[in-house]
Symmetry: C2
Subunit: 323 residues, 2 copies
């Protein structure tokens, strides 16, 4: 067995870089959620993070590890939304410029916020274009540095700081849940979890139509699926990352799949009972717990990363009105 | 000058009683709120408190100070909503029973939650009945102990623990804002603020149609207004308390009044940009800041108690759809 290319030390180093620059987000318990689910749940509220999602952790860590000359050339990123905002804000924080490639159907709120952070936005078609290729072209033409959404160890280490903070506050968890899109958040968080608590169950959550990591883990190799239609726009990813996947293979205890109806119930419950605005992607972990989909006995102490809170008002209204 | 009947020591004693029984709620900063308002704001998130509001602090402190025999007889309370839930939950926590007098037009969610905590609900007409008299009748007939919504030093001391926690986390505030209904929250919080930081500006916030405390402070004596129509249902109070008012007179630097439109803007901003669900009453402090109504120069460091998050889904939808 080879040593992991991502270590707890990398995450500690990222935490030192990020300290004082972004929020140490609160960990929140909600009695009515526990009553409804039968678990003892601790929510790590990355919906309350700067730019409304955990993405600033990885993006800022990446930018802070660049050599000054590289950083000064500016950055480029592709993203369905939250990574876009994270990179745009991180670029502003370190005083460089950002070009963000966003899908034409990106949520209006995420598009607007990205522009507000001062980034230039370039659009691509999610059904036709290869977004990585669009970004690479910009890199070649401009010399900007690519900030990948997940397949990068500095990104993963940054995202892992969310779990580090969660465990510092609640060191006695039986289970850790995070959403799985490209796998950056889970690669970082699972590395922290398994390093600190080898016996902990680490469970990734995907939307059932965006089950590329689930299928890949079953097959033992990376599988590519068609662009998935799930309401969870942040994890509409077609395959796990080349670098994240081996880390997930090593660390994950299991996967859990939730459907859009279960996600809607969770978003609604979190808004009205936990008083937290969480976007569909951010709520998939809560959805798995609430829908009884955890392969873990009731009563377990479960850490759930609520990964983001950037939801279009119209969608939030629709979800609040859902019966 | 006579010594205050409510002291910092009372609040410290309440904090010791409450420790581990309720949430130490997070203090949250929101860059976009600061950008929009021109202030540096720290939100004390009592919307994330147990039962969704600060009220459990006072109610539980009160119940924990009762002699066991009195406590065993059960309690009674009257409330437009959050105090009802606070007392109902506090009663359940200490193993006694609660009867709650609620207005016939209480928000459905607050009514439901009060019943769910195991309390018996008795209705009164907010336009016609004297709610205190309704509750006193129950006290006389049953021997239950009245838990007043605000005009009680144990209640005020409990509510003050919110400010104590806020100052422990952010000791360098220039201003403290809380909503003012009957004055219990503000009596407790202002006592903490002025004891720890004599130079701090303490500003109470009322809805402009529920300006009984504003008028009372101007006149130098308690004024009674007609039942106010404001959207902020938790502060539809017609006069400040007999016991709270002298404390507010002593401690308050100023009052700020906000209208319903400003409250709606604040609730919407908090939900979509700070990702916090806050009820209209809970948002009046944020509304005053956002609407530029603070009699304090921009740039000041402002602590704002977001007092509760119990909002009917239909109203939240309406507010999210407001333009």
């Amino acid at each position: 067995m080879t040593a992991s290319p991502l270590t707890l030390d990398d995450v500690h180093a990222a935490a030192r870089r990020l300290r004082g620059r972004i929020h140490r987000t609160p960990v929140i318990a909600c009695q009515s959620f526990d009553d409804a689910s039968g678990y003892r749940v601790f929510f790590k509220c990355e919906n309350l993070q700067r730019a409304g999602a955990f993405k600033i952790r990885g993006a800022l860590n990446k930018l802070l590890t660049l050599a000054p000359a590289a950083r000064a050339r500016g950055v480029v990123a592709y993203s369905s939304g939250n990574h876009a905002q994270g990179v745009a804000l991180a670029a502003r924080m370190v005083g460089t410029s950002a070009v963000i490639c966003m899908p034409t159907d990106a949520p209006a709120l995420k598009l607007e916020a990205t522009k507000n952070y001062g980034a230039e936005v370039v659009f691509y078609d999610r059904q036709k274009d290869d977004r990585a290729a669009v970004a690479r072209k910009i890199v070649e033409e401009t010399g900007r540095v690519l900030v990948p959404p997940y397949d990068d160890y500095a990104i993963m280490a940054g995202q892992g700081t969310a779990a580090l903070e969660l465990f510092q506050e609640v060191p006695s968890l039986d289970v850790l849940l995070t959403p799985v899109g490209g796998g950056g958040l889970m690669a970082g968080c699972s590395t922290v979890a398994k390093s600190l608590f080898p016996g902990i169950a680490v469970i990734g959550v995907e939307a059932d139509t965006a089950n590329d990591t689930y299928l890949s883990l079953q097959k033992g190799e990376r599988v590519t699926i068609p662009p998935p239609p799930t309401i969870a726009d942040g994890i509409r990813v077609t395959s796990p990352g080349a670098l994240t996947f081996p880390i997930l293979q090593k660390n994950l205890t299991d996967m859990s799949l939730v459907n859009d109806a279960e996600i809607v119930v969770a978003v609604r419950f979190l808004a009205l009972r936990a008083r937290l605005v969480v976007e569909p992607t951010g709520a998939v972990g809560a959805a798995a717990v609430l829908a009884g989909k955890l392969p873990v006995a009731r009563g377990a102490r479960v850490g759930v990363v609520l990964s983001g809170g950037n939801i279009d008002p119209a969608l939030l209204v629709e979800i609040l009105q859902a019966k």
